[in-house]
Structures are given as C-alpha cells and as structure tokens.
Symmetry: C2
Subunit: 691 residues, 2 copies
Amino acid sequence: MLAAAAKMAAVGITSPDGNLVLQVELDQFGAPYYTLDYKGKPLVEKSALGLKSDETSFIDGFRIVSTDTTTVDRTWQPVWGEYSEVRDHFKEMAVNLADKDDNRALTIRFRVFDDGLGFRYELPVQNGPNYLTVKDELTEFNFDGDHKLYCIPGDYDTDEYLWSETTFGALPEALAGYGKHTEAQRVEGTTIQTPMLLKTADGVYVNVHEAALDGYPAMLLDVDTKDYVMKSHLVPDRLGVSAYIELPFATPWRTLIVSDDARDILASQLVLNLNEPCKIEDTSWIKPMKFMGVWWEMFTGYEKTWAYSDDHLAKPGITDYTKLTPNGRHPANTENVKRYIDFAAAHGIDGVLVEGWNEGWEDWASYRKNRQFLFDKAYPDFDVAALRDYAKEKGVKLIMHHETSANAADYERQLDRAFQFMKDNNYDAVKTGYVGAIIPRSEHHTSQWMVDHARHVIERAADYQIMIDSHEAPRPTGLCRTYPNWLAQESARGGEFESMGGNPPSHTCILPFTRLKGGPMDYTPGLFETRMSYYGEGKDSQAGTTLARQLALYLTMPSPMQMACDLPENYERFPDAFRFIEEVPVDWADSKYLEAEPNRYITVARRDKHSDDWYVGAITDENARTAVIDLSFLPEGATYEATIYEDAPDADWKENPQAYRIRTVKVKPGQKLKQPLAPGGGAAIKIASRK
Amino acid sequence: MLAAAAKMAAVGITSPDGNLVLQVELDQFGAPYYTLDYKGKPLVEKSALGLKSDETSFIDGFRIVSTDTTTVDRTWQPVWGEYSEVRDHFKEMAVNLADKDDNRALTIRFRVFDDGLGFRYELPVQNGPNYLTVKDELTEFNFDGDHKLYCIPGDYDTDEYLWSETTFGALPEALAGYGKHTEAQRVEGTTIQTPMLLKTADGVYVNVHEAALDGYPAMLLDVDTKDYVMKSHLVPDRLGVSAYIELPFATPWRTLIVSDDARDILASQLVLNLNEPCKIEDTSWIKPMKFMGVWWEMFTGYEKTWAYSDDHLAKPGITDYTKLTPNGRHPANTENVKRYIDFAAAHGIDGVLVEGWNEGWEDWASYRKNRQFLFDKAYPDFDVAALRDYAKEKGVKLIMHHETSANAADYERQLDRAFQFMKDNNYDAVKTGYVGAIIPRSEHHTSQWMVDHARHVIERAADYQIMIDSHEAPRPTGLCRTYPNWLAQESARGGEFESMGGNPPSHTCILPFTRLKGGPMDYTPGLFETRMSYYGEGKDSQAGTTLARQLALYLTMPSPMQMACDLPENYERFPDAFRFIEEVPVDWADSKYLEAEPNRYITVARRDKHSDDWYVGAITDENARTAVIDLSFLPEGATYEATIYEDAPDADWKENPQAYRIRTVKVKPGQKLKQPLAPGGGAAIKIASRK
C-alpha cells in the first residue's frame, strides 16, 4: 500500500520553455525527493528533501495531500542593476505534504524558470511543536557524474579564497591545497561553499546557491565525491544548532541556475527573482556611485597604517587618544582626506571612503574586548566637521567606515548613534567590516544570528536613509532586491589581495559565474600601479592583471558602488586611461553577455541607464585571446564611435602590465569587432551613439 | 634561598581599630597567600591568591617588589540610601609582585576596614601578553572550622532560591535538597553563590561577597566541605572562558564583612565603600519612589495574563495583534491602568508599573526567536498616549516594563529606541526582566558579557535620565553607588513567590544579611491578602507572613524603589494599615540596627531623610518573639508619639495573618519598648517628634 501511495505521489512541472522537467515523488517510506531533467537528459538524479529538528522531523512518513500549480509571468524594475527591467517567468508547484495523523505538515514550493530551479521548504503552523531547533537539512543535489566543479572550501567564517577548478573525484586533493585560515572555521572533509559552479561532461553549466537567506544560516555543501552528491550543510552556531525557528517559517530558496550556454548563467536574474520585492517605499535617496578611498595606501606599503599611533601596540589600555604619539603614517588625516576630495571633485568621482578615521586601530585583540571601536569618535588628526564642510563645498560625499572587528553585538549596541552621527555629518553610505572572530561568541560569520544581524543593520540603515557596502558579512543571496540600499558586499577574495600575492587573472573570470550571482561585489577595480609592496611584509607583490583589464572589470564586475581603488598619484600618471573610469556608468539599462567560459574569459556589453551609450568589457585569463565582439546589440539608425582602451601588443600581466593603447574607431551595428587581449589582459570600450 | 625570600616577604596591615589583622606572604614557590585574624584569633587561615589565563598565569614564581600602604578616612553622601553620609575608613596595602624576569607583574590591593576586608587583583601592562583569556581565579577563603553557613546553591543563571542554614559538613545534603531549575545551570558539586553568610562557633559573622563587579563574571564559591575552604569559581561563558580581559585591568573586590555583632553586618557599608564614586554629574532627576503595579493580578490567579490574547498559544507567528481575539483577562488595559493611577493619586503613591503592556506575551519560546518583545509597540487595548496624559494629569508616574525574555542582544538592539519611547511618553523609570535562557547563546545570566550588558544598560539609561529596577540581572555588588539611577534589583527569591508556595518567615530574616549587602532589592512588600490562588495551578498558596510584618518589611528591606505590591481592592479593605505604606519614606538620613540574628529576627530604626520622624521595623521568623526597641536613638528635647502597627495577640502567619492592631503611644528617648511579634509576624512603628 505504501508503494502504491508513492506511485500515486509522483508530480511534476516543466519550465516555461519545456527544457527543464522537475519531478517530485515520495519513496516507500513517504520521504520526498526530486529529480531535474534538462533538454531530455537527467541533470539532477533522485535527491532527498527534508529538515530535521530536535522537536520533530520533516523527512518521511508523508503523503502528498495536494499540489498547487500556477504560471507566473511578470516584470519588475530594480532600483539599480544590470537591467532596467527584469522578467520573472516561471511555473510553480507547491507540494503539500502531511503525515497520516496530520501532525506534521510541510509544503515544498518549486519554481521552474527557463534558466533554472528554485525550491524552498515552508513549514505551516503544526499540530505538533511549532518552535524548532533545526540541526540538519537533508536537501541533496545528486549530479550523477564526475563533473567539473568550480568552488571554494567550506568555512563558517570566510569566503576569501581563491577558486579551485576541479572535479568531484579530485576535490579532496584540491581542498587539501588550502591552508587552514587563521581564526576561521575551515570545515573538515569535502565541504564547499555556495555559490559554486558545476559543468557536466555534456557542457551543461549549473550554479548552485540560495536566494533570500533570511532568518536561517547559510548553506554549505557536503560533497560525496564518489556518488557525486552534494548535500546541504547548514552553518551551526557554536552550540551545534543551525537554526532556531518559529512556525510558520519558510527557508531560503535553494537555487540551480542551469544552461548549456555559459552566457546564460551570467545573464540569469533567477536569484533576484526569488527574492521579495523592494520593501523600501521611497528609494530616491539610493544612489549608485563611484568612489575612491583612503584605503589602498595602507595596503601598498607597510609604512601607512589605519592606526593613528604606534603606542598602543606596546601599551594597551590607553583610552585618551590625544595623549598618544602620532605615528606620522596615518593617511586618515584631515589634509590627506582633502587631497582625495580634491581629486574626486576634479574627476567626477562621487565619493571618498576613509578608513582608519576612528579610535581603536592600535591593537587588534577584538575577541578579548567588549569594545574595540567607537563609531562616533574620530582620531585627533581627523576633523569631522571641517571635512564635512569641505566635502560638501566640493560636491563630494564622504563614505563612512565601520570596522566592527567582528563584534556584531557591540555594533548593534552603537548602531543608532553611529547612524545618527553619519547623518549629522552628511554621510549617506557606509562600508562595514567584520574582521576576526564573531562576538556574540556563540556565532560564526554565517550562522543564523549573523544573518539576522545583517538584515537588522540593513533595515536600520534604511530607516536613516543610509546605503551599505558590507565586508565579511554572509555572502549575498539577492536580498539587495528587497533592500536596495544594500549596494554591495565583499564576500569573496577581492582586489585587496593583489597586495597579498595577487589574484590570478582567472579569478575575475570565475567570480561572475559564482559569487556575483548573489549580488554585486565591492571588488575594488581600477588598479593602475600593478606592482606594489607586499602588504605587511615589505617584499613585492604583482597583481594578476594588465592596466587595461582593470578598466574592463567595471563592466565584467558590475556594482552600483564601484571603487576606483588606486591612489590619486597613480591615476595622475595615466590621465587618459583614467578617463574611462571617470566616464563608465555604474547603473545599466541593459546587458548583453557576448562570450563567456568560466575561469577563462568574459565579454559583456552594457547600455548606460541614463544615455544611449554602450560600454563593452572583455577579459581573459593568463592566456592571450581575441575577443569577438558582435555589435548586433547596437540599434540601427545611428552612427557609433568606439573609444577602445586596450592592451598594447606587447602587454602582459606579469612582464608589461601598464602597456595600453587608446584608440577611437567608428563602428556599425552588426559588426564583429576582433579585440586582442593580452595574457591576463582585457579591453574596455565606450561606444557613443551619434544620431 | 627561596625560603629566605619568602620569609622576607611577609607583610601586613590592621584595621583602623586594630581588631582585624591581615598578613600576606609568599610560600616557597613564590605563590602569594593571605591570612586574616579577628580580635586576636585566626579567622581566615592561609588562603591562596592568584589568577590563571590561557596566555599566562599569576600564581607563583613571584617576589614582593614593594608594598604601598596608606590610611584613608573620608565620608561621602549617597544620592539615596540608609544613611545621608557614609564613612569610608580603611588602611590600605598594595602588594606589588613580579617574577624574577619582570615579565609578570601583579598588584594585590587590600583594604582593611573596622568592619571587614576587601581585596582585588590589579594587572598592570605586562612585558608578557596583555590580552588574557581568564579560565580560573585561585582566591580562597580558608575558614578552619565547620562553621554555620547561610547560602543558596551555585547557579550561573538564577539566584531565586530559598536559603539553607547549614554547615560546611552538611552542605552536600542541603544542596541535594534543591531541585534542578528549569533552563538554569545549577552547578554540580558543592558550589554556592555570594553574598553568603558564615557564623563561626565563636559567634563571628562573616559575609562573603564582591564589590564593583564590572568587566568580569560573577564569583561563585566552590566549597571544600572537609577542609572548610571556599574557592572562587568564576562564571564561565558556554565556551568555558570566564573573562576576556585587556590589561591594565582590576578585578572586582573580594569582600569579607566581619563582626561578632550581627547588627554590624547589617549596618556595614563596606561594599558601597569599595565601589567608585557616583559617575553621574547631575543626579537631581534620580528620585526614590513608591509604586504600585498592574502585576500582582497576574500572579494571584490563573485567570489574568500578561498576554492580550490566547490565540497565539495555539497559533504562533501572528504579528498583527489587532487581529487577535482579546482574551478579556488582560489587566494591562487602559481602563484598569487608570484605576491604578486613580488609587495611587489618592494615596500618594508615586508610580504605577504596568506589565504586559507590549506585544509578545502570547508565547514564551524566546530562546528560539531572535525577537520576542518590541519595546515601543503597545497592545491594542493599552493606549499609550491617553495613559501618558491621564497619569500626568493625576500627578502619577507610569513605570515602564521591559521584559527581554533574556534576549539581551535584542534588548541592546532596541535600547535607544526603547528609551526614547519612554521619554516621549513621560516614563522616567523602567523595570527590566531577563526570564529564560540568555541570548547571546554563548552567555549565562552572570557571565562577563551579561555583566557588561547590565552596565551598558545602566549607563545608557543615565544618558536618557532613566532609573532602572532590574530583575534577573547579575546580583548587585554596590554599583548603585556609582550609578545611583540603578535604584533596585530583584536578584533573589522575591515576594512574588508568596503566590508560588510562599516564602517562609525566615526568608526576609536572612536576605538583609546576604543579598542586601550588594544593594537594594525590589522585594515587593505590602502584601495584605496573604492567601491566594497558587500561580498557574489553581490551588491555594499561603504567604509566610502576617499583615503587620509586611509593613515592617519597608524598614527591614530598605529600597529607594519600593513597591506596594497588593491590589487596590485589597488595600481598600485595610485603609488604616495602608496608611503606614502611604507614610513610610524610602530614603533615609540615618539607620540604627537594634537587634539582629540571621534567619531569626531583625529590628531596625531609621530616620526620614526629609523630616525628623523615625520609623522602626521589627520582624521575626516563624517563632513569636518580643522585640526590645531601645529608643536611645531619639534625641532629647522633643516629645514623641509612636504609631504602632502590630500583630494582634492572636495573630499567626499561617492561621490568622490579617489580625493586626494600630495604637498610638507617647514614647521617650532611652525608653525600651517591648514589642510582641506573632509567629511569622512583625511590627512597624512611626515615631513622630513634636518639638
């Protein structure tokens, strides 16, 4: 009889275009599982579904009570992004499960898009326990093949890793190649993080991630390297609990972006589509921006510091900072900040970030302190009022910096006052940071409490009309749709690592396929001086890039809060190249992915949201390449002039990175531009239309 | 040579009156220890001193580098309290220790008063590590005898226990008699809490506690029941760490109040003297008060609830409270609160506390929720604005209630807004509560982070000119001297337990010797209806008191925030007795402890701070007693009229608790009033002077 019930229980839907076929069944124990076919072939084989809590489990003993199916086709307009309009088109099936006594009810909601699948667990109010201590989620992604994987190691506290291009079978070896991070919780075994990318032998690309992570911990993936199964691994707190939930509750969406065309993975808006619409009524104050920062000075040489003084290093406990001896190597001082403001004003850069402006940088023993930083107390050499007035006069926005040293509890304690201090001093945006081990000490960077913290901060920021660029926060899952004041996040190995051994050219050829599917990254492009003193060590570090490639990153790493990361003096050496950074928009009406292969190359064209100008960016890995830029996207009926910022013929990321050329050519719709890219190089093109 | 060094190392001081002799020595391993003699006899035998951290230890290998001694005799004026002026008179010795390489330095500072000893560890900046992860403190109190102990079980989360009167030898048995508290962390073994009281065979009383607990966890005591040694047991967080400290650092003072006269223990201001002076500049807004509360209604019958509705009990997750069905048993409604305001206004009661006014009481699964209560969102039947205006018109202050359900993290998140909401609505005082298991989940009620939380709340409250009455917070250690807006705390088994089986009469005969040495308790006296429905169970509960005794508690349990706990309708039944509550002050110019024996009886006289009137309170345990009230404290040159509120001759706490008499007699200075007290009874006397 059970078998009969299971047979009856098979239900399914397809994507609107019919390419994806989702099927859900119960096995003989009444346990739900799903399969996903793509273009007539199995892609995800029989994969478990379910949740386990201390109080009750939602694993088996179920029958399908009913299914609700619907088709949705709608569009929405993001406040900022790659497209001025996004289509949200899917077939939905809610599978309503209950046990025979109706004590446990579970709905699994599936949405199948042309570009993938999203599903989540919805736990309605039960006849049984309604407060659950979640210890495990059973969700599987059973890929029956030793596919190629692009991934970073499982870690509860950081995602700032280089990417492995490996396979299921070779994963243990790949993971063994990573060292154990300081203060971080590298997960033992073959666990990886999401977003991750997979490529089958058939050439099907699958991005595995989650959408709308809220009230729940982040999901890692335990990889069975023999059976090619990935299983949900919820980040636990230090008491071993993953989630404390109150019913009714819906988990985040588990997402698979699927295509046999790599460009579709880049173009997919699936994760955003699975997030809730914007919750902020008036969004007029949310303004995409470019910014510079008193920041890179501290990375490019051991001499400059965030700290105002060196005294504290020898003598902790000093609280009166006016009594400290200035170290003379503190760039966050009034005069130097004015220099940045002047440069930004002269070059149309909207904002200037200043790190190291506030008290507390002299030591870094944050886990042993209940308070490391004050967010309304400037160093003696940083004149808040004078800089507020100076920036205002120059039409430049200062950007606040809140390094919390991972003491999220203390940040919440100070939050209202910190935000009020910002508004009182004309700051509209803040870069937040969580370097170190988390306080509350029960938590990890990606445990449930910290996910909740991130949402609290973004909501409170919205109350104050403040925009956020968060570093070391839980990696994005599309929540920027719901809270568009969350302009950007770090949540990956960023450009700062160019000063710590460098990022290989391939690094920015994989991030758009993985990390960026959650939301924009504050990658900090715009590095013109590609050779620098190794951060903290004095030896040299070589960036994995040519200068021209850095311009292309403004297209391939789109973000509404985009940095020009280098020093004013370095930009002054290359004013013609800097012209591109001055002109490139950070908000787009449309985007066309022209060429793409993960870890290899990306070519993308985007149309400015506020003009008819198009911009093209093309990057390659450490191999030279000729990008073929199909200009079919240009509308007929106009003439076009392309200004091309490209690698010089002898350019090379390692040997000759600063060799670039700028040339202007007339181009036509439909034309196929052949654009050479140097090893580790790239090209950036502005195409202006003249009607 | 080591022995020679140790011999050289003996140093000591005495109390100003010479009765206490403190000696500090190093043993052959360079480990410091101390002894304390009282009136020529050893009281504390050789007892260890020291601290242990992961990074370095301060246990042995020391030499005495120097000692600094001084004598201090000064007075200070508390903002409120038992005395208008307090004498702070002690000899001090700072013993400066270092190891032979000068890598570790430790100062142990001793203050010897006529009424006891305080000492603390001071860790200056080291040549070695300056950020310490403290795992253990070695402090011992070695009482060489099987003395009598008055104590409660060791627990990291609650102190709401009945008191054991036991001995070292019988302690295991006494502790076995306690059940394991729900959600609390009863410490295994023979661990007890401070403040505790000890009485030697020689009749010497010793109160063991700590003063100025700040930036450190609370201290419990591990009791060696065979060798009669008590050792510091610092409350750890759930990671097993007791304190994360940054040097320079000073621990709280470890305190011994010592006397062979029990009355001296009650009169001692040693704990307050060891706290820092008031940090609040303008204290004019800090006003001692009496208050009533929409509170006891919920205890005295299962019918009344803090919750507005019963829906939530069946269906969690409701967030729109206007859609809930009112249960009709919710006393925190506008009309009922007005009734309390009217009564308070008519009887000169300053304030009305209202519990259950805000959303969130429908369930109590707080540990599984990131948010249980909002502190700026009232239930639909509680009209904030109307009650604000009504109370103001009537000259009564509403008192805010912040039950956090132990989610201290979320309370901090809301704190600024919660306090602003109070000020916007004319609230000047708040009762805080922390029922349940603590969030952050790494913490206990008395671990370091929560101690820090408590100080944060009191400091932030001072910023808003708000007074605090905290429940379920770390028990007081005299910090109310430094932050006199911290009017009262619960931190013991309070009057509410009269509705949960009752407090035996002896309970309030031990609290002043123990719990009250840290600071005032919001015990909630004034219970006139002593028989009530058992909280939550429907059966009857009999309070351990006569009615007259409840009046005496206003003297024997002094607090600047003193409740009249019973219902208006119960007071209206006994208007003549209620007259005493109307008249009794809550702030005192002077106090005279006339008779005292722990767990047995207390008789105390106090002079009103704002008049020449004296008030006397006398209580006994379950045995009848005749208090002898020596009126020598009355100044000559005036005539005095005493209004005596006393047990009727046939009164008895169990059989006839509400039998009382009120009589007025003329009294004279020097006269010895013999005042009969019924079993479980008491007497309260107002002595008005007529010049």
